[in-house]
């Protein structure tokens, strides 16, 4: 069983870490980069498979050389046997499409062909949720790769490597109240939902989990020893189809979320004041949804 997990570095948006300038623009230089929080769940899904059935888990990312630290973080905090970084100036400023193209090519170079690819839900900076599904779509255009069934919004996962199948519980339309169970053959592509939870109902699972966590923490002390870096030449990629040049998306502008005005007017209405409350209702009515 060979699983590859896709990840990306994002600004650390946590309170106290993130830094914005006066206009509300993110200050990249002052904000540390961390692994996209949703990708941690993708890694947890892969680790669950490793705990239960053995196999290998690779962690792959596209980004600047500094992303080695993001890969190391994933390894330290969750798990990875080895790390792959697709890194090159030509790959810079890619939109989700160019990223998907590049990442797919990266996957096609992995040996053996992964049985399972797992991606996290939306990235914390892009918020599109496109890269996972697009990467799977790009598989169709890559002769070296098999087609995979795409299963998104996965909240729990059970792989049977002997039977070559995967069973997942997924949220229907991303709705927490509606869950369906799907089964498909491997190879497959899974996008974990933020609600994903790994489950370890056997003591033996949990003991192995502990062993693997210890082992991967040690490995994370020297990530370079298990890191492979590929540039566009290694992957035989045409610079016109990757990075900024290969990105059809045009960002026309970015508007910061406006701050609330410093001075606001308020009228105090007592709930006992019938007429006053009527006025409040009238004021609110235009903003109410529905009929």
């Amino acid at each position: 069983m060979y699983t590859v997990v896709l990840t990306k570095g994002v600004p650390d948006f946590r309170e106290g870490k993130v830094s914005f300038d006066e206009d509300g623009h993110l200050e990249r230089g002052k904000t540390p980069t961390v692994m996209n929080p949703n990708d941690e769940l993708a890694l947890r899904a892969a680790l669950q498979g490793k705990v239960r059935h053995g196999g290998t888990v690779s962690l792959l990312s596209m980004g600047p050389p500094g992303y080695t630290d993001v890969l190391r973080q994933g390894m330290e905090e969750v798990y990875a046997d080895d790390l792959y970084l697709l890194s090159d100036r030509e790959m810079a400023a890619a939109d989700t499409w160019a990223t998907a193209m590049t990442v797919t090519t990266g996957i096609s170079r992995l040996e053996p062909t992964p049985d399972l690819v797992v991606a996290g839900f939306k990235t914390a900076d892009g918020e599109t949720g496109h890269t996972g599904p697009q990467t799977n779509w790009c598989h169709h255009m890559n002769d070296a790769l098999p087609d995979r069934t795409l299963v998104t919004h996965v909240v729990s996962l059970d792989v049977d490597p002997d039977a070559g199948t995967l069973r997942a519980k997924r949220l229907v339309k991303g709705d927490v109240t509606e869950v369906e169970t799907v089964e498909t053959d491997l190879p497959a592509f899974v996008v974990t939902d933020p609600e994903f939870e790994a489950s370890y109902p056997k003591a033996d699972h949990r003991l192995r989990y502990k062993d693997l966590r210890e082992e991967t923490k040690r490995r994370a002390e020297d990530p370079e020893a298990v890191l492979t870096v590929w540039n566009h030449e290694d992957l035989n990629l045409d610079p016109d189809f990757i990075g900024l040049d290969g990105s059809p998306t045009i960002v026309a502008g970015v508007d910061p979320i406006p701050k609330g005005p410093d001075e606001r007017e308020a009228t105090h209405v007592s709930p006992d004041d019938g007429a006053g409350m009527e006025t409040v209702l009238e004021e609110l009515q235009p903003f109410a949804g529905g009929d």
Partner: protein
């Protein structure tokens, strides 16, 4: 069918000193051992005073099972040991060094989070080699039975597990001991309640104020009239860079006096006697509480049933030798003996004999006699009667009594230092309150100076604790004040008139009639176990990893 279940040769429930000792000893015998602990970390649920003794006569000590223990997991060796008999401002101090050193190889102060988590790491290494290991955040919720026989355990987080040996080292309020019908949670006079504050103090200040070096420690005990007549006493032990200051009271007395445990702790913390050490500075790191079994009454003479062996607090093996509290050391001994018994039984080709052998070893090694001294049993019936208390009271209060005390000053200190006499100390108000108060009054000198420290209030104490709240784990079965009202005061995180605690008194008026009721919110619960005894509840521990998380313990 049990055939489908995951199986380990031995399952140890709980990673306190008892569980750690049992698991280490089993692993050393090559027994495949799985240890299940409900806390996020071993020690995160545990509280003790904490002086851990290594007794010369004990077949197992913590450092015999874990050689680097003292270096890595304990705070300070404690040699100085005093008791202060308090009457108002008058204090008479006795040196209890002799009784403290009696049968003692060494004695260290410990903080349980640090101690238990260190032990757990060693235990995991040892047991992993046998094919088992130690898991945290798993709560065992009962015994697995087949045809009425105990064959394993059931858990909140894991599928049922079978085992040839089950060691219940799950502490006071052991759910497994209760499930097996070996212990009940009915009588308040079977238990003590311990409450403790860990107070910050720089090592330099400790050296200065206690007159000790960095590698020395001190213990001070307190009894007399500072606790509103509740039977029990206080303690203060030095750690590396903090003090453990606490109280231990008989639960029946605490309940009867309707005393508030946190106020009794504050009475100790703010007594002028403590000014010499606190010197106006007070930064509380943690407030904690837990029940403590009284071995004299509840140490089970036959702590096993089928494959299940109880060790430590779960079996009531907690010895209060007068003011000296010995629970951790006995849990270690019992853990070692349980493992030894299983190994012996296996050698004889009959693992099911482990329980009988364990019981025999507890007797042969003299453990049972320490836990339930025959002398105590002999004196109990007379000395605990009110009559003797009253006569004792009268004598000690009379001028003759006072003269007697004066005449026998030295003899009293010697009597306090006698393990033989301490073994028979009756659980009366006379021995816990009247006598020490009278000693303070007649023989004591007044302490000068004022202690103006202000311990945090209950709301702040609760607010400083870490909780990962799970589902409510205690159900109030009878919410009438008669049945459960005692919990409003006895719960260490509740108080009369305080809305932020677990138990609250409510008056409900319906159609002209008025009812006194009690309500429960388990959110701030520290899982001390008190309301399992003093209120009408369905009491369980929270699920694995949930509930309060002590940093010090």
């Amino acid at each position: 069918m049990t055939d489908d279940h995951e199986h380990y040769e031995a399952v140890v429930v709980g990673a306190g000193p008892g569980g750690a000792a049992a698991a280490a000893a089993l692993a050393r015998q090559g027994v495949e051992t799985l240890v299940l602990e409900r806390g996020v970390d071993a020690g995160s649920k545990n509280v003790s005073g904490g002086l851990i003794y290594a007794e010369e006569s004990a077949p197992y000590t913590i450092d015999s099972l874990f050689p680097d223990f003292r270096e890595a997991a304990s705070e300070r060796p404690v040699d100085d040991y005093y008791i202060h008999n308090v009457s108002g401002r008058d204090v008479k101090t006795f040196d209890l060094g002799r009784i403290h050193r009696h049968d003692t190889d060494w004695c260290d102060a410990v903080l349980r989070r640090k101690m238990d988590s260190w032990l757990a790491e060693r235990v995991h290494e040892l047991t992993r080699e046998t094919g088992g290991g130690l898991l945290t955040e798993v709560r065992v919720n009962g015994l697995l039975r087949e045809n009425g026989e105990i064959v394993g355990v059931t858990c909140d987080e894991l599928d049922p597990i079978t085992a040839d040996l089950i060691v219940a080292a799950d502490g006071v309020n052991s759910e497994l001991a209760r499930d097996a019908g070996l212990m009940d949670w009915d009588e308040p006079d079977d238990w003590f309640q311990g409450v403790k504050a860990v107070v910050e103090m720089e090592p330099d200040a400790i050296a200065d104020r206690f007159g000790i070096d960095d590698d020395e420690g001190a213990a001070h005990l307190f009894s007399g009239d500072l606790f509103e007549g509740v039977r029990g006493g206080g303690f203060l032990y030095t750690n590396e860079d903090s003090l453990s200051v606490g109280t231990v009271f008989h639960l029946d007395s605490l309940a009867a006096e309707r005393a508030e445990p946190h106020e009794l702790l504050d009475a100790l913390l703010t007594h002028p006697l403590l000014d010499q050490w606190l010197q106006g500075e007070y930064e509380e790191r943690e407030y904690a509480a837990k029940l403590v079994p009284d071995s004299k009454k509840v140490a089970h003479p036959s702590p096993h049933r089928g494959r299940l062996l109880l060790v430590g607090d779960a079996a009531g093996q907690m010895q209060a030798q007068g003011p000296i509290i010995k629970g951790m050391n006995h849990a270690v001994t019992a853990g070692g003996l349980a493992a030894e018994a299983y190994a012996d039984a296996k050698t004889r080709g009959d693992p099911s004999a482990a329980g009988e052998l364990y019981e025999a070893k507890l007797n042969e090694e003299g453990v049972m006699d320490q836990l339930r001294p025959a002398r105590y049993r002999a004196t109990r019936s007379v000395s605990e009667s009110d009559l003797l208390g009253t006569i004792g009271d009268a004598v000690i209060r009379s001028p003759i009594g006072a003269a007697g005390l004066k005449a026998f000053d030295g003899a009293i200190e010697r009597a306090f230092n006698s393990p033989f006499l301490l073994g028979m100390v009756p659980d009366t108000r006379f021995s816990y309150v009247t006598l020490p108060t009278r000693i303070g009054e007649v023989l004591g000198e007044p302490v000068t100076g004022d202690n103006d420290v202000e311990p945090p209030d209950l709301a702040d104490r609760i607010g400083d604790l870490t909780y990962d709240v799970g589902e409510p784990h205690i159900e109030l079965v009878d919410n009438s004040f008669e049945a459960s009202g005692t919990a409003v005061t006895a719960c260490p995180v509740s108080a009369v008139g305080f809305g932020g605690g677990c138990y609250r008194e409510e008056t409900v008026r319906t159609n002209g009639s008025e009812e006194r009721l009690v309500s429960l919110d388990t959110q701030p619960c520290v899982e001390c176990g008190t309301c399992a005894i003093v209120a009408d509840t369905e009491w369980e521990h929270p699920a694995g990893g949930k509930g309060v998380e002590y940093e010090q313990g």
